[in-house]
Structures are given as structure tokens and as C-alpha cells.
């Protein structure tokens, strides 16, 4: 199935992908080619920031797939993001080799500090990039599969399911805070040096990661579009709107939910794996229940069940967060809360619904327009 058929009728998504393509071409040029003295120069700091936003956008798309189309309000999606991030972080830790503070050839610093003599079994293999990349997808996928299998088979829905996902991410946070878990405790994993042999601090590597994030977002978006435009996507919406009815016409509702939920968790894992090398740290704070809730707010602000709305919401809210926490650090949470209230009250379909609202409003205002509408 081609890109054209998947994107047919999705004007917002087409525009989003076009903008993404332009940004992916222009930003590297402005960073690498344009001299630093020029006002057009984009700093490496900004490139990394943009790359981070793109991974958030991919995460938001994953949430919109299960919330917008399947009706599962997951308040624990940051857990899958975090697990993907930890898998990548473990690879980056192993890449440090003997350049750590303690200079141990194999063990990461925090293990030397804890007087561990050898690498735990679950750290084996993470010196290989392909293995870590695979784990960044498989670990969140497996967790989502097991969790989803138990929850959906028992027909846990609605607010109960949301609370369980919160508990899931909270439990992971508490577990990862423990030093004995072997993931660096509350300091997490940090002090990374290089990825695939490229220095993480160099501009070119930063650009590479930025482009990888843009590519992952585009591919993830297309994959989600493919699912929602298939018959399975229509079954998902059917489950969202009338679950019992869907069961009575013969669909295994639990299996459909399980498949899409697991896929979404894998996407979140990919986003996490791209996020960690760009921000340079992963710690248990990523599993904080608040993160998962904030993430749902991005999707609500952008507009549910549109996919591209999730991208807009994630980027706008995070830009706002970066700006506010720099300019008025105390005001950010109030601004986020106000934004959420305003959107819920006045823009039930989020920013993505704004275009339609403006069009309806203008049509109702101009009598010529409404006459032209009525004429054919």
C-alpha cells in the first residue's frame, strides 16, 4: 500500500509531513552551512531541542492511536517511552567502556561504585547496537502485551484501566529508583560519550539524531495512518463507540485492543530510544505518573483522533514549556492548566479542530458564502 493512498483525505497530516520534510532539510543547512555570525544560523542547542520535540511528537502519536481511535485512555504511556529510553541508555553506557571515572573496562561507573564485580545478566548484549535497538522495541512491546492480555481479557475498561496504567508506570518508577535493580538508581544512566562510534557532542551527530527522529516520526505517522485507514482501524473506532456491539458482530475485541496497544507501546519505545541520546540522560523520573498525564494533555490540546493534532499538541506544549520555564519558571504549571481548561471549554476538538470551527464561523457570518453553499 502506497503513501498516497494512506494519506488520502488527511489534509492536516499532509501539511504536517510537508512541514516536517522542509524542517528536516532546512535546519541541518542552517546549522552546518550558515556561519554562526549570521542571524539565520540555528544553534546546535536548538537542533537538539527540536529533535527532542520530534520524539515527543512520536510518543503523542502513539498515545493518540490508542486513545483517539481505540478509546483506551492510557495514563502510563511514558512507561513504554522510558523503557525504550533505558534500553538505548544501556547501550550508550556500554559504549563508554574504560572512559568512565573509575576506568573499569566493562562495568559502568555506578556498578563499580556499588562494588559489583561483574555485569548482571540483563546487561549482556547491550554493547551491540542492534540488540539494544531491538530491546528498545521488544521490552515495551512485551510489557504492553502481558499487561494488555490480562487487562483486556478481563474486560477492564474506562477509568479502571487508566488507573491501572498509572499504577504500572508508578511501580516501574519505584523499581528503577532502587540501586539493586541495576539501572543506576535515582541518578539513572548518563555521561554518555558516543553512539555507533560518533561523538555525541559533535554537531554532525546531533544533526544525525535530529534527522533520525524526523524520519521515525514520519514513518510512525504513516504506520498509524495505515492502521486507522484499514478495516482494523474502523473496527477500533467501532470498539471506542460501541464495544458490546462490536463483540456481538463477531470481533475479538480483546485481541484488537491488545494488538493496537502493543504496537503503540513499541512506537513509544522507539521514541524513548531516540530521546535519550539527544538529552543525554535517562532516569526514573521519566516514569513519573505526571509525565504520562502531561502527555495525554498534549494530545487533548492538539486534537484527539486526528494523529497530526497529536504532533501539533506535543510540539506546541513543549515549546511553551521550554519558553515558560526559562522566562517565568513559576508560571509554567499554571499556564499548562489554563491551556487545558481553555481547550476543553472552547476547543473540544483541540487545535486540529480550530480550522473547521473557523470555516463554519466564517460561513455563518458571510451570507454570500452560505448562499453559495446552498445553491448547488
Amino acid at each position: 500500500m502506497g503513501v498516497a493512498s494512506v494519506m488520502r483525505g488527511d489534509k492536516g497530516g499532509q501539511a504536517m509531513l510537508a512541514v516536517l520534510l522542509v524542517v528536516a532539510v532546512v535546519v541541518p543547512i542552517l546549522n552546518l552551512v550558515v556561519p554562526e555570525s549570521s542571524p539565520w544560523h540555528v544553534s546546535t542547542y536548538t537542533v537538539t531541542l527540536l529533535g527532542k520535540y520530534l520524539t515527543y511528537a512520536l510518543l503523542a502519536v502513539a498515545v493518540d492511536l490508542v486513545w483517539g481511535y481505540l478509546g483506551i485512555l492510557s495514563l502510563g504511556h511514558a512507561a513504554f517511552f522510558g523503557l525504550g529510553g533505558y534500553a538505548m541508555g544501556m547501550y550508550l553506557m556500554r559504549q563508554i567502556g574504560d572512559r568512565g571515572v573509575y576506568g573499569h573496562p566493562v562495568l559502568p561507573d555506578f556498578m563499580v561504585f556499588l562494588n559489583w564485580s561483574e555485569l548482571p545478566w540483563f546487561w549482556q548484549g547491550f554493547d551491540l547496537f542492534w540488540f539494544a535497538a531491538l530491546m528498545a522495541i521488544l521490552v515495551p512491546g512485551t510489557l504492553a502485551f502481558v499487561f494488555g492480555y490480562l487487562a483486556f481479557r478481563s474486560r477492564v475498561t474506562g477509568v479502571y484501566l487508566s488507573i491501572m496504567t498509572q499504577a504500572l508506570t508508578y511501580a516501574l518508577m519505584l523499581a528503577f529508583f532502587r540501586n539493586e535493580m541495576g539501572f543506576g538508581g535515582n541518578n539513572g544512566l548518563t555521561d554518555f560519550k558516543d553512539i555507533l562510534g560518533f561523538d555525541l557532542k559533535s554537531d554532525a551527530t546531533r544533526i544525525g539524531l535530529f534527522l533520525a527522529s524526523a524520519g521515525a516520526l514520519a514513518l510512525g505517522y504513516l504506520a498509524c495512518r495505515w492502521i486507522v485507514t484499514s478495516r482494523l482501524g474502523r473496527v477500533a473506532v467501532a470498539i471506542r463507540d460501541a464495544e458490546a456491539r462490536t463483540r456481538f458482530i463477531g470481533y475479538r475485541v480483546d485481541r484488537v485492543k491488545l494488538a493496537i496497544f502493543t504496537f503503540s507501546a513499541m512506537l513509544a519505545g522507539v521514541a524513548g530510544a531516540l530521546y535519550v541520546p539527544q538529552v543525554g540522560i535517562i532516569n526514573p523520573g521519566e516514569f513519573s505518573p505526571l509525565n504520562s498525564i502531561e502527555l495525554v494533555i498534549w494530545v487533548a490540546i492538539g486534537g484527539r483522533a486526528t494523529l497530526y493534532g497529536a504532533v501539533i499538541g506535543a510540539i506546541l506544549v513543549n515549546y511553551g514549556k521550554t519558553y515558560f520555564t526559562g522566562a517565568f519558571p513559576e508560571a509554567w504549571l499554571f499556564a499548562l492548566g489554563a491551556l487545558f481548561v481553555i481547550v476543553t471549554l472552547f476547543l473540544p476538538k483541540g487545535i486540529a479542530g480550530l480550522v473547521g470551527m473557523i470555516r463554519t464561523w466564517r460561513r455563518s457570518r458571510s451570507p454570500a458564502g452560505s448562499a453559495a453553499e446552498a445553491a448547488p
Partner: protein, 276 residues
Amino acid sequence: MKPVEQLRQSMRKDRQWSFMYSMLDLDLDVSQGVILYLEDVSVSFDGFKAINNLNFYVNAGELRCVIGPNGAGKTTMMDIITGKTRPDTGSAYFGRTIDLLRLSEPEIAALGVGRKFQKPTVFESHSVFENLELAMAGDKRVFPTLFARLSGEQRDRIHEVLGIIGLQEQTQREAGALSHGQKQWLEIGMLLMQDPHLLLVDEPVAGMTHQEMDRTAELLLSLEGKHSVVVVEHDMDFVRSIAKRVTVLHQGSVLAEGSMDEVQNDPRVVEVYLGE
């Protein structure tokens, strides 16, 4: 039970193992002319006997109406047939061979038992066409559904059903925008898309206008012979307009059964309906 006895039980030739059940032949056998057998079924909720020793048979191709006062167990009976509620005792067979009590809701649906709910439930944000497409008989597992494409034949079938339920004009309309009556017909159309052997229709004319009722009566009568249909309804005029055989349920068991006239003149029925 003694071990020897246990062994003998498990060696019985007619023994059906539950793990082999999916391998059993699930073909519908209506060679006796009966499509549904409910025998000695009882179910109670918190001590209240919703169904009490119920015996109920439906012939293949028959249009049967079930009436009864509120709380007579009509909806519970439908729940048992479709696998939503498991009875405490008794048996439920679909045709001679298929034990409904061992199957899940989607499995029962896949075998050809379609159910229309009391309140019309259609997929509101899908078009009428998509509603019928989703309901269509076929492989409904996850991956086949992901790769499913409509064939020309299937498209024709959808248009045929659109004709039967009289919604050709509304093909591309969002189902949520349909009138109450149209939603009911769409839901019946969704059942037809599953090529069901047995249709369970719960209060199809509740909240309908008289024209809509007449239209629904025609629709249900046109299904007779091709499908077995069980209609649960309160509206007596409507029942009289379609029914050949009527079953009266009262306090969870069958009170009377026969033609509309016989049933209406039965003193016990009169007492239940008028005596209170």
C-alpha cells in the same frame, strides 16, 4: 469418585474433551427442523429467578414472537442464547449438535446468531456503508482485518442489504445522523450482513412512528423462511401484524404458546396481563 470410575468416565467413547472442542464439527444441523433448543434452563441473580425451568424451541425458518410482562425474562433468555449470561442449570443447543453454553460471544456470533439490542446501537461515527462492511461475515481475526479489502462481490452484497433495509439514499451518511427508525433498520441490516441462521430482535419498534412500524413489519416478514427470527416485543398491535406463533413468558418460564388468537384467549395470559 474412585480412580477406576474416573478412568472409565474418561474412556467413554462419546466423551467430548473441551480442549478438542474447537476441532469439532461446528456445522449447523437442523435435520429435525429445529434450530434452537433451550431445555430446563434456570438462572438466578442474587436469589431472584430470572429464568425458571424454561423450555423453548424455535423451528428453522420460523418467525416467532415472544411477549411477556416486564421482568418475565425475555432479555435474559437472549443473553443466554448469545453467551452473555451462563445459566445455572439446563442446556442450550443451536441445531442438534452445537452446545451454545461452551462458546464465547464472538464464537456464537460467528456461527450465525445475530442479536439486535433493545436500544439501537450502531457505530455512530462510521457511515452506513462502513457499518455494514464491519458487520459482514468473514475472517474477523486481527491481521486478516488489517489487510482486508472489499471485493466486488462483497460490495454487491452490501448494496443488496442496503436495498432490503431501504437505506440506499443514506449510504454515505454518518450513522449517528440517522433517525431512530433508520438506526433500527441499519442494525437489522448489520445482522443480515453476518448471514445469520438465527436473528434475535429485541423490541424493534420501541419509539417508532406508525409508518416506521409498518416498514419494520414488512422487513421482518421478508426475512421469514430465509432466516429464523425471534422477536421480543411489547407492542401488541405490532405483534399481531407479524406473528404466526407467539410464546408468552411469565416469571421466567413459558406460560402459553400458540397463534395470536389462541394466546389472547388463554385465561392464564389474560390474568397475567389484565389481572394485575
